[in-house]
């Protein structure tokens, strides 16, 4: 019980002042929202090649991304917060990926998993069908190197994404500030 309280205190973005009979919380609303968002990121069920197998391993019992708040993969983009591009994106898949991304509700995040999603990977040179990096199609928040990346690497990327969300503004907020 003690341990649980301590992590809750250190994790929460703000100060907690203990007073007799209760307490006072001091924080910024944006920080609290980002903190809440980062701890409940549901990924989209989306995999286009062998990285998808590692992705499934991460979703499975042994690595289990539910422990970090990636509770369950949703099969519809309307219920998903993060899209993990696990695999090669070919020219014919690109419009589908764009459409899925457009259908997701804001705020939405993107992880490019593996060499294919980052740059086209082993299909970079002289191919007629592969998109050379998923960031030609949709904006990417976190890149994970590997072919395919280890499950630990993907977990690391997921935690990095949480840190990114906790540390500041969403992509949409940054864009609004620039205008």
């Amino acid at each position: 019980m003690d341990v649980k309280q301590q992590t809750a205190k250190s994790d929460f973005p703000g100060q907690i002042h203990e007073t007799p009979g209760g307490g006072i919380v001091l924080s910024k609303l944006d920080d609290v929202i980002n903190w809440a968002r980062s701890n409940s990121l549901w990924p989209l069920t989306f995999a286009t090649s062998c990285c998808g197998i590692e992705y499934m391993a991460v979703a499975g019992a042994k690595y289990d991304f539910s422990r970090f708040g990636f509770e369950v993969a949703r099969a519809t983009p309307r219920q998903a917060d993060v899209i993990i591009i696990a695999g090669t994106i070919v020219n014919k898949m690109a419009p589908v990926l764009k459409r899925l991304y457009d259908q997701m509700a804001d705020p939405k995040y993107v992880i490019a998993m593996g060499a294919c999603a980052i740059s086209g990977g082993p299909f970079f040179y002289n191919t007629y069908s592969v998109v050379k990096g998923a960031d030609h199609v949709i904006p990417v928040d976190v890149y994970v190197a590997g072919c395919p990346p280890r499950p630990e690497a993907l977990l690391h990327a997921l935690i990095k994404l949480q840190e990114k969300i906790k540390s500041g503004l969403t992509r949409e907020q940054i864009r609004k500030d620039k205008e």
Partner: protein, 152 residues
């Protein structure tokens, strides 16, 4: 039929055919013009009965193209490979899609990837490649990626 018996039978049907051995299956080299009559005999002859075309593909050798047909008989369980050299600048061969229906889309794939023109094919158009791709054949050895070509 064993490979030896097949060889004798094919030589009867088409004396011009030459054979390669050493593989699991008998490989028969023929001229493109002999392909259609031979295909009909392979399918219809009661002792051959090749009713299953299980692979149809093409190879680019830079000097010429080679069409490769793998045939099997579900009745006698014997297999044969037919190869035919095509002219690389004007590759043409008769379609066999009316003999083995599966050839219809396999030939469309070879058409889009290698640019082989299948004569009398009922519906020769692109299979998977996007519209407007005609003329660029991605599996030809001299195909160059317009975006990230690296020459060694």
């Amino acid at each position: 039929m064993s490979n030896e018996e097949l060889k004798v039978k094919i030589t009867e049907l088409l004396p011009a055919a030459t054979f390669e051995e050493g593989g699991e299956w008998l490989t028969t080299n023929i001229e493109p013009k002999d392909w259609l009559p031979l295909a009909q005999q392979l399918r219809n002859d009661d002792s051959l009965y090749f009713d299953y075309l299980f692979c149809l593909t093409c190879i680019d050798w830079k000097t010429h193209l080679t069409m490769v047909y793998h045939l099997s008989s579900t009745k006698y369980r014997h297999n044969i490979v037919i190869k035919s050299k095509l002219d690389r600048s004007n590759p043409e061969i008769e379609t066999v899609s009316h003999i083995w229906r599966t050839a219809e889309f396999h030939e469309r794939e070879v058409y889009e990837m290698f640019g082989v023109n299948f004569l009398n094919h009922p519906d020769l158009r692109l299979l998977i490649l996007p519209d407007g791709w005609e003329g660029k054949n991605p599996l030809r050895k001299d195909f160059e990626d317009p975006i990230n070509m690296i020459k060694l």
